[in-house]
């Protein structure tokens, strides 16, 4: 709801109340989501953390959800906006199911719908502060795409959000193959998530991996990655840095 409140001095009209209704910065945020296409469908990984600024406040947030029969949505960014998006999609899927006519929303349709929503919100200067990953399989065709908070959208064989773009995608560019098996795909994702765990301060060691195939979606139980901190360089980390202590 926006109101226009005329201010006395000058002919300016200021949307004072309206400002408080727009998203200006994110508060509770999720970090990277990484996703790849593999032989039978899509694999997506994300951790379960919700940061409140620099505090790792929430440690049980599911940032990946199944949408309809054919799609999987993962989100990073503002968690409350993600929940809002889930409400929009819920309504979309409900209406689609109510038709009951043999047609169903596929990942391409959901992705395009989300692109329209994100872009339109950005145009109103009231963005949904998320980067979304949309993957799915329909009629044997695999689909993986991404939408950012400003409405940039594209498809690819592997996508990542946030820090994942910088740390995970180089790994995927080197090591992704068209016909990855499920085990190899999981190993590849775990490799990416481990790097993120070491290097992203908002990552936590509790992740889920979601699998999307023609049969449906399965989201794994949360688990942790094994990490190794006994590198000799860690005993005296600043030995190489001049002037440091």
């Amino acid at each position: 709801m926006t109101f226009t409140i005329p201010i006395e001095n000058g002919n300016e009209v200021k949307n004072a109340e309206a400002d408080s209704q727009r998203t200006l910065y994110p508060y509770v945020t999720g970090t990277s989501v990484v996703a790849i296409k593999y032989k039978d469908g899509i694999l997506m990984a994300s951790d379960m953390g919700g940061s409140y600024g620099s505090t790792l406040r929430y440690k049980n947030i599911e940032r990946m959800k199944a949408i309809g029969k054919h799609s999987l949505l993962g989100a990073s960014g503002e968690i409350s906006d993600f929940q809002e998006i889930l409400r929009y999609l819920d309504e979309l899927v409900l209406n689609d199911n109510m038709w009951d006519d043999g047609n169903s929303l596929g990942p391409k349709e959901v992705h395009n719908y989300l692109t329209r929503v994100m872009y339109n919100r950005r145009n109103k200067f009231n963005p949904l502060w998320n980067t979304l990953v949309l993957g799915g399989v329909k009629n044997g065709e695999k689909y993986l795409g991404m939408v950012s908070m400003i409405g940039v959208s594209f498809e690819d064989n592997h996508v990542a959000t946030g820090f994942g773009n910088h740390l995970a995608r180089p790994i995927l560019r080197d090591e992704w193959r068209e016909d990855l098996s499920f085990e190899d795909g999981v190993k590849l994702l775990e490799k990416c998530m481990r790097v993120l765990l070491y290097r992203d301060r908002s990552a936590i060691n509790k992740l889920q991996i979601a699998k999307m195939t023609e049969e449906g979606v399965t989201v794994s139980e949360p688990y942790s990655l094994k990490t190794f901190w006994e590198f000799s360089a860690f005993t005296n980390p600043t030995v190489g840095a001049e002037g440091s202590w």
Binding site: D101, G102, N103, G106, K108, E109, H111, N112, Y113, R116
Partner: protein, 274 residues
């Protein structure tokens, strides 16, 4: 049905539970020139008879492309038909824009039917006087629907509407069981043969009919006169002098083709109905 005291308003019921204005609107459909639709598992063919006001004028367009995967043939008040076609195109393109995928035909047809129903329940409106044969393809297969001015819609394997459509329907009733597995070519041939039935004795020429096809891997398009004439030639064993009148005219079927002796038929049809 005859003039009675309950037929002035669309919002007046008769004691026997009928809305006469709606039924009169359906009469308007029966006065228009014939339109035929048939479908197989993978294709839908829409065909119609080209009728022109006079020898001097072009014939009215009765088949419209709604989208690559949907076409519509109309019978009745063509002006109403044009407006509804525009609505269908709008719905289809809006869906494509939001979802980057084709609007399922069944959903379009329901919206169209709901739009028609509104006009049967407002005192300041009148029902649309046009019947629409909507043919389209979506992921659940090929579909053919008939939308009534009453707001009802039905799905068909094959159907014909408009004047002398009963002859075409009889022909289709004999053959429809085979349509599901029909090849594209056979389906087109059946459509043209059904058109011939409605002409009742007039020689079938390609200038008299418009035929459109859509199907799997084939977006909606009109068949050109030559193709139609070739199909006609396979079954019409008529001496050459009758054929040459329709041949050699390479115009697009939907364009301004002057109908020669073509659509004479009923001279007393109202000018707005075709």
């Amino acid at each position: 049905m005859f003039r009675n005291q309950y037929d002035t308003d669309v919002t007046t019921w008769s004691p026997t539970g009928r809305l006469f204005q709606v039924e009169y609107a359906m009469e308007a459909v029966k006065q228009g020139s014939a339109a035929i639709g048939l479908r197989s598992r993978s294709h839908v063919v829409l065909a119609c008879v080209n009728k022109a006001q006079s020898e001097l004028s072009s014939h009215q367009r009765k088949i419209f492309k709604v989208d690559d995967h949907i076409g519509v043939a109309i019978a009745g008040l063509t002006a109403d038909g044009r407006v509804l076609s525009r609505y269908m195109r709008s719905e289809s393109i809006n869906h494509s824009f939001s979802y980057e995928s084709p609007l399922p035909v069944g959903r379009l047809v329901v919206r169209l039917a709901d739009k028609a129903q509104v006009c049967t329940q407002r005192s300041w409106k009148r029902p649309y006087g046009v019947g629409l044969l909507v043919g389209g393809l979506d992921e659940s297969g090929a579909h053919l629907y008939y939308n009534c001015p009453s707001g009802n819609y039905f799905e068909y394997q094959a159907f014909a509407i408009g004047s002398r459509s009963q002859a075409a329907k009889t022909y289709l009733e004999r053959r429809f069981e085979g349509f599901k597995e029909s090849s594209r070519e056979d389906l087109i041939k059946d459509a043209i043969l059904a058109i011939r039935e409605t002409l009742q004795g007039e020689t079938l020429k390609s200038s008299l009919c418009t035929v459109s096809v859509l199907g799997v891997g084939e977006p909606f398009h009109f068949l050109d006169q030559e193709t139609i004439q070739n199909v006609i030639d396979t079954f019409e064993k008529v001496p050459e002098q009758d054929e040459e009148a329709g041949e050699g005219e390479a115009e697009v079927a939907a364009g301004a083709a002057p109908a020669e002796q073509g659509g004479s038929g009923d001279q007393d049809v109202a000018p707005m109905e075709m």
